[in-house]
């Protein structure tokens, strides 16, 4: 890799490199929000934590830890059987 230019000037915040980095930020935010919405929708439709976890490709513990409190606040009757 070529070394970065030595001047201390800040790069253009809307230049090509900044656009790609901003896309990463926007995609992460979108993925987070879509996950919140999609998990909630599935749980409202009666999916179990294990089913949601399997569909997301993560462990049941991970999905439970991330969403349990939020969905309890939402008053969703969480399925405890068929976990």
């Amino acid at each position: 890799m070529t070394p970065p230019p030595s001047n201390q000037q800040s790069p253009d915040p809307t230049g090509a490199e900044a656009d790609d980095l901003a896309a990463v930020v926007a995609l992460r935010e979108l993925a987070d929000r879509l996950e919140d919405a999609a998990v909630e929708r599935a749980m409202r439709a009666g999916w179990s934590w294990s089913q949601v976890a399997e569909a997301l490709g993560v462990t049941r513990q991970a999905v439970h830890k991330k969403h349990h409190r939020r969905l309890e606040t939402a008053g969703i009757e969480l399925r405890r059987r068929n976990v």
Partner: protein, 162 residues
């Protein structure tokens, strides 16, 4: 969670920072970032909010600019924005502090007024925090402000004269 972030910042700014948490929650954000502080400053009724509005950045304009920034950033990756309806979810009521709001409060102009009286520091606290938000050269806020066609440096200069 907020204590470490704003221990010495005064009552007025504390209220504005607390409102920034609400902005983050309302937007379904996992972290409270500088853009949420920018929004809560715009809604604060402080002289700093008036300076923002005079520059064309009242609350609705900032909201629109932030939305525009995200849409452009997603399009840079070939993604069309997803409708708010599909993203509707019960909010996480406990977002954590993001790096950008910490940086903003570090970059704020508080030290410049250390030798002034407490009433004067209180009067300037929100403007000082706004300077910190605006001093970021990279990231969501400077991008949104540039897309909105607002001169960030001129706005900082005006706030520094408060």
């Amino acid at each position: 969670m907020s204590e470490q972030l704003h221990d010495d910042l005064g009552v007025t700014l504390k209220t504005v920072i607390t409102a920034s948490i609400e902005e983050a929650i309302r937007r379904g954000a996992a972290k409270v970032e500088a853009e949420h502080l920018l929004l809560s400053i715009a809604a604060s009724g402080d002289a700093a909010a008036q300076a923002l509005a005079d520059a064309g950045l009242d609350y609705p304009a900032i909201e629109a600019a932030l939305q525009d920034e995200r849409a452009r950033a997603l399009r840079a990756a070939g993604i069309e924005p997803v409708s708010d309806e599909r993203l509707h979810a019960t909010r996480n009521s406990r977002p954590v502090w993001g790096a950008s709001i910490r940086d903003a409060l570090r970059r704020g102009d508080f030290k410049a007024h250390r030798n002034r009286g407490s009433a004067e520091r209180e009067r300037l606290a929100v403007a000082d925090a706004l300077i910190g938000v605006l001093r970021a050269d990279l990231g969501t806020v400077p991008r949104a402000i540039e897309y909105a066609g607002v001169d960030r440096a001129a706005l900082i200069a005006r706030l520094e004269r408060f």
